[in-house]
Symmetry: C2
Subunit: 227 residues, 2 copies
Amino acid sequence: MFVRITTDPTRRPNSLRDLGLTSGSNPAVSLSEFSYKKGTEIYGEKEAADYVYQVKTGAVRSYKLLSDGRRQIGAFHLAGDIFGLENGNSHRFTAEAIVDTTVRLIRRQTLELVADSDPVVANNLLTMTTNNLQHAEDHMLLLGRKTSLERVAAFILEMDQRLTGAEVIALPMSRRDIADYLGLTLETVSRALSRLHELSIIDFIGNTQRQIVLSDRRKLATIDLQG
Amino acid sequence: MFVRITTDPTRRPNSLRDLGLTSGSNPAVSLSEFSYKKGTEIYGEKEAADYVYQVKTGAVRSYKLLSDGRRQIGAFHLAGDIFGLENGNSHRFTAEAIVDTTVRLIRRQTLELVADSDPVVANNLLTMTTNNLQHAEDHMLLLGRKTSLERVAAFILEMDQRLTGAEVIALPMSRRDIADYLGLTLETVSRALSRLHELSIIDFIGNTQRQIVLSDRRKLATIDLQG
DNA sequence: GCCGTGCATTGAACGCTCTCATAATTCGGT
DNA sequence: ACCGAATTATGAGAGCGTTCAATGCACGGC
């Protein structure tokens, strides 16, 4: 019934397999797939959290809204990322596909049952939650204390690190999404990116403005002050 | 060797006993006490996380610093609160006593050993981490998208909820601490509090400005927009 | 090919919050 | 009780980011 995979504890779990589950070795654990068109909602804030998701292809934004429409994006989920993992019964963010997106999903109940009997799986759940917590803590510092240029620099560095392997940073999200992630307006984000371009730190390639080449990673790092 | 306490899963764990540990029933699990004078450091960011703490009396601030001194307080820890619980090996915040403070502490290793063999304890650790995550997520919305008046209103409501039972909200922290928690300057916090006083929403009592009476909780709640 | 739509850039002016400065009050130590 | 240090309040002015507005460009439908 339950799958027990002894994962390497030194590696950060970043796939459902890493959580200690796999569909390949056990048909009882279902790993379904589902696709969402660009802009469509995957789940809403306060909805029942019945599934845990992993991005197979595409990108997802998780956000909260104030009643007057102000939006704060808490995280972007890229290929390989797990999202929607809750401890309570309901989702604390709304999740939307930024572009056409395919996700793998697993029943949350399944995961919990496994975690109850397998300390390794339970510990992986804790590690994932801790990773999310750490990201949120770093983001609080950014939102509370960094300037607009520092925020945008930090954003590019984060994306550069996460969209690893690629020479160019192909951003799936709009300027507005970036702004709502960084606590700015889209105009301010655009101006900061233009500024970084003037400073010969980044370049734009192709017809679109969403493909960025990081020409000077070191200079960008000095702009985004670290602790 | 290990203590197994079956806690009530419906109650939010908010003491070390709730985590599944107690010194009373088992002398092998040591729950020591330690006192810190006002303003002293309990642990520093990146220091080894060897202990988990619970505030017995007093108050604690957890913060991150940028290299130029800008500070972001991530959380205040009041009587009963557990803090310093890490999954990784080092602390991600610096923790300081805001006033003279006494803490209970427990070796982190002890907790982990228990958690490995006791799913209830392990789940309590996950629940605590999730509570911290939820707080950080809400705070990201505040820092990214709320106005100064909304932030201060949210702060008073949070303190009112946490310093429950008291008719007056006796704040242990300075205006500067509040500012660094809310991503503002102390002057802006002071002005917002004066504004709330003008609006007959809060009153100050006694000689100090740190004792606040919440005269109109409902009006304050309308100022702090909710999702 | 043409046009409508969405996205991004850029400019100009505004305003919220910050910075700087001063004063009043409280707190802590002797 | 006294006095220096710390805290808070408040005003004036500046600045960073927002708001409002116009333009350019890419893409998709007909």
